[in-house]
Amino acid sequence: MKLKLIVMVIIAFVIFGVALFIGPKFINPFSINEIEREILFSIRLPRVIVSVLIGAALGASGAVLQGILRNPLADPYILGISSGAALTAVIGIISGLSFLGIVTIPVLAFIGALITGVFVGAMGWKRGGFWPERLLLAGVGLGFLFSAMLMLIMSISSDEGLRRATLWIFGDLSLADWSIIPYGFVFITAGFAIAMSRAKALNSLILGDELSHSLGFSPRKERFILFISVGLMTAASVSLGGMIGFIGLLVPHIGRFFVGSDNKSLIPFSAVAGGILLCISDLVAKSLLSPTELPAGIITAVIGAPYFLYLLRRKNVLSI
């Protein structure tokens, strides 16, 4: 298990290297001039870091969410957190808000995500605890509401605002900038640390609340803590780069295939694999039709959707 993780981390670093030096313009790492140095450190490096952070957050939070909802088809976006983030972000983009400079939109998205998270949490709360079905239905219901509001706003907005908003919704990493990385890093690391510290409890929750209790946990308390972990990671990732589909759903399944379902190894594996997948997707997204950039979210969905359908046909992965 440890070995597999180490191998993954090495692969990850190789891919980060490739992503840094390959792009619309190849940069030879052994003969860099001033302009290339500028491209490397101001544009490509923050972008690689942001893609890795987002991918890691989505992979890890997907694994956690599938556990707390006891549902292998759950995706961090199902809780409506991302729709809430998208709504506030798009309002910000279309009305041209920039009171915090370049971090305005990420901050707005994060606020939208947190408010939605608290709201979904409140809806999912009954008799002193979180109920998986309630959380799920509250998230789906709220997600629909926010999507409708989003459509409404977009349908009455100007062309330029609409284009930028659309890009953001599909996951746009071209806005990646050093100034937002520390915030993203703090929230994602905090969420990840919480998830890792509760990995055993999460395993027990998958067995059901009664067995979790029998094994010495307080299932409702644990689900609450893990919900906060998912909320932090999802909110931070959406605010960094918009809605990037399928990583949260897909990566944990790949992880179960390679390292098993024990969350002590599944969560870190999903984080590393999610980082790698988004880094590659972004590389493809910006190279495929260069110099035109595609949103990375489209690439992850193009890879993710067929794999998702394939999973549906496999009994080992889904016993439903």
């Binding site: 549902n71 055993k200 998958i206 209790h213 029998s214 094994l215 010495g216 098993g260």
Partner: protein, 266 residues
Amino acid sequence: MSSVSKEHEVNKNISRSKNTILEFEHVNFSYERSSPFIDGISFSINNGEFIGLLGANGSGKSTVLKLAGGILKASNGHINLWGKSIQSYKNKDRAKLLSYLPQILDMNIPFTVKELVSMGLYPYDIPPELTVNEALEMVGLGGKAESLITNLSGGERRRVYIAMTLLQGAGLVLLDEPLANLDIKYQIELLKLLKELQEKREIAVLMALHDINIALQFKKIILIKEGKVLSIGKPEVVLTEDLLKQAFDVEVEIRRHDSGGAYITY
């Protein structure tokens, strides 16, 4: 029976009665504002006892087990685990003393058998003497450690969870209808296995069941109806035609063999 062995029996009974593990005292429980679902139940479980909790559907068997496991809180009365209120234990400490296995073991996440069984060690910082592989051997699944739980049959899956319970090493095991939905072959095998494990590891077992013929295999039975205890004791005392008619609302006939066995006909 010789007088010596009789004396031995008496001694054993006295020493056991000192070791009351679980005690229900006039326990009441109701779900959301309705009338009491569990209505003044009292009984106790001693160290090493193998007890069947018999009753019709909806008689409150599962609720009694959940109360015993500390999952539900009694509205009235006392439930004591080793002489202390069960709600006064920390979760982890309670988990070392009792374990609970629900009737429905649904699972959508493909844990391996080994991953699942090793969760039995979660209450412990220092693992107890039994290992995952030993626990799997005990339930006859020695070669299945790496199999996915989602690929096992109902009977095998049930045994995996029992292996987890063994690893948890609690002195009291609460099993909710562990034989339900199993073929007769697996029912017999599992019952044998449970008895064997219970004797070997000297654990007390409280098992909910609704099959009267299986209840005949127990030395002690608690018969309940509508949240009340109808009778507690040996099968000869509890499984009478009159009491069973009250509990299940059917006419049954009990046939006893000269060898000591018995069965129910309808």
